[in-house]
Subunit: 340 residues, 2 copies
DNA sequence: GCCTCCAAGTGTTACGTATAACCCCGCTCG
DNA sequence: CGAGCGGGGTTATACGTAACACTTGGAGGC
């Protein structure tokens, strides 16, 4: 029996099975066809099981020069959206023997520990949300393979991108509201500098510019229910005709908008229609339930990981945006007659 | 200049600075006081900076036999509660040169990649939520230092525990509702086998048993808004007098309960009062806003990490539950007169 | 004048793994 | 009957770091 104080190594297994350490490595690494007899391989496996052998990852990583671990950088963990992204990515990763480590946004953690400083030798690649762009320069400093989520396909030099077709989602929302007779819009926009949000504003403005009589005002808001409520309340009570539809950059903002409407003594959707984007659990918790755009977060994460695996493999990452789906619920209705 | 194709090692730095690799290790490891002259140390640091040297973590981990990385096991990433726990833990970890890796519950990822199989040599310790108890046996199989969050202090053999004083939260909720005149309770309970949930049921039952005329029925529900709505709707329309207060194991369940009340043509809080537990963003998105118990998720994570650091240091982990706070909002009000 | 001591380093080793290079033996084939 | 070959292994080495043991040149003590 080996000394039990410390963890067994492949050499301990070798001794127990009466073979060399190299043979253990071959058998356990599944490289033994034609190099080790079936009987010996069985002895090795049995010895490994008996001793409870687990390979030392640090040693393996050092030897191989790679870690089979990738980093997922998300802007914050405050909604289930990125939980879904993680789940999808981790599922694909697991099938390929990879692990996924999560790195929620730097805020609140402080610069004391820059993950990328240490990461370079501990990671094989990075998947990053464009909303965590502040970390981008740090990432590019390293030479790690990178996949960007929901980022400008042209602007992010070199990095592969995987995108949800949010532009189409915005178009669907806009058509839906136009069909209901709305012409006066408020865009409650996330005050986060990111391509994915700027693109939404552009898409909405472009469609409404093509619609005679339609107009839109934009109000920036922090991505929190109370921040959104404050911003929406101010924008809705501004002088001039009141918007009849509020298009929000995500569901949290929409929840704030709904509160704002109620605090002004108005009703959703009779006086003001509200739309979100994400389809979080929050969307169906509201009363009325939220008309929103469903994003398939898990598929998003899955595609991100597949793209990264392709890059690591020197293959061309698959292109094509992920389709999204308008979900019509109770928060949108026919436009009320214009008010002065 | 060193070969630029591959990353620089400490030996490259040594050559550039005209010293031995050992000297580089001493200087960069901050162990050089009295062993290397100030001037030499400066040369080494400059060379390291010029070359963009980053130590290879795999090699360091192998040499030191530890990784300065701990695992945080959470049941799921679907609420911001565990995001807060992570943030708190990561903050403390960063101050001590540790990193935190997140492991969201196994469900959805599949057993293909058991994190603990590989973890043992890549982790120094584990912080685990009791709600992810299915992973517990795997954890205990390894000999990693373990801190349990919100777990039975007596039952979890050997492991240190850090608890929120949720029992007190339940007591505060109960007193609040009793003071409002409620005597007939429905307990909407999470259908997850976990000490923290069982404890809530016990605490509620104990207090109501001591109150003449009070009674409580329990309805188990999955932790999802729609699941909770279904369960609450059934329980509220069951034969016999209708409960006037619904005490829920968390805010998501409470959101479902509110929907159920409305679907039965009743109103919150006029006909039925509802309470939650967590104080998620969801709580203030609802209308009326939710009376709930605020849990300090960040402090929870912080204490968890501090406890783990203590264990790693062979010190006694600090005890004492983390206080919680009742937040009274609009979802609770005076009890309606009993209905048959 | 010799021994001791200290500052300022250097040489060497080990951590555990994967793999390239080698070795031996029995069998087949020319 | 010797060369060749393939099955079944073994030996040796390198990955990059941290730390222990050792060296050297001079200053100081007695």
């Amino acid at each position: 029996m080996a000394r039990s104080s410390t963890r067994p190594t492949s050499r301990d297994v070798a001794q127990a099975a009466g073979v060399s350490q190299a043979a253990v490595s071959l058998v356990l690494g599944d490289k033994w066809r034609g190099r080790v007899s079936e009987a010996t391989a069985d002895r090795v496996r049995e010895a490994a099981r008996d001793l409870g052998y687990r390979p030392n990852l640090a040693a393996r990583n050092l030897r191989l020069g790679r870690t089979r671990t990738v980093l997922l950088v998300v802007p914050a963990l405050t909604t289930e959206f990125f939980a879904g992204v993680y789940t999808g990515a981790a599922r694909v990763a697991g099938r390929h023997g990879f692990g996924v480590v999560l790195y929620p946004s730097p805020e609140g953690i402080g610069p004391a520990r820059d993950p990328f400083a240490s990461a370079q030798s501990a990671l094989d690649g990075v998947i990053a949300s464009s909303m965590a762009a502040d970390a981008l320069t740090a990432i590019r400093g390293d030479q790690l393979p990178l996949v960007m989520l929901d980022s400008d396909p042209d602007g992010s030099l070199g990095a592969a991108t995987v995108n949800l077709d949010i532009a189409d989602g915005v178009r669907q929302v806009t058509e839906h509201l136009l069909a209901l007779g709305h012409r006066h819009f408020l865009h409650l926009a996330a005050d986060v500098p990111s391509w994915t949000f700027e693109m939404r504003a552009r898409e909405l403005a472009a469609r409404l510019a093509a619609e005679p009589g339609a107009r839109v005002r934009t109000a920036p808001a922090p991505i929190s229910i109370d921040g959104a409520r404050t911003a929406a309340e101010a924008a809705l009570s501004a002088p001039g005709p009141r918007p009849t539809a509020v298009v929000c950059d995500d569901d949290k903002l929409a929840a704030g908008a709904c509160k704002a409407v109620r605090r002004l003594g108005l009703r959703v959707p009779d006086d003001v229609s509200v739309t979100g984007l994400d389809d979080l659990a929050l969307a169906t918790a509201l009363d009325p339930e939220l008309t929103t755009v469903r994003l398939d977060a898990e598929l998003f994460g899955q595609r991100g990981m597949e793209a990264l695996l392709a890059v690591l493999d020197d293959r061309e990452p698959p292109g094509g945006d992920i389709p999204v789906e308008l979900v019509v619920r109770g928060s949108t209705g026919p436009a009320a007659p214009a008010t002065p």
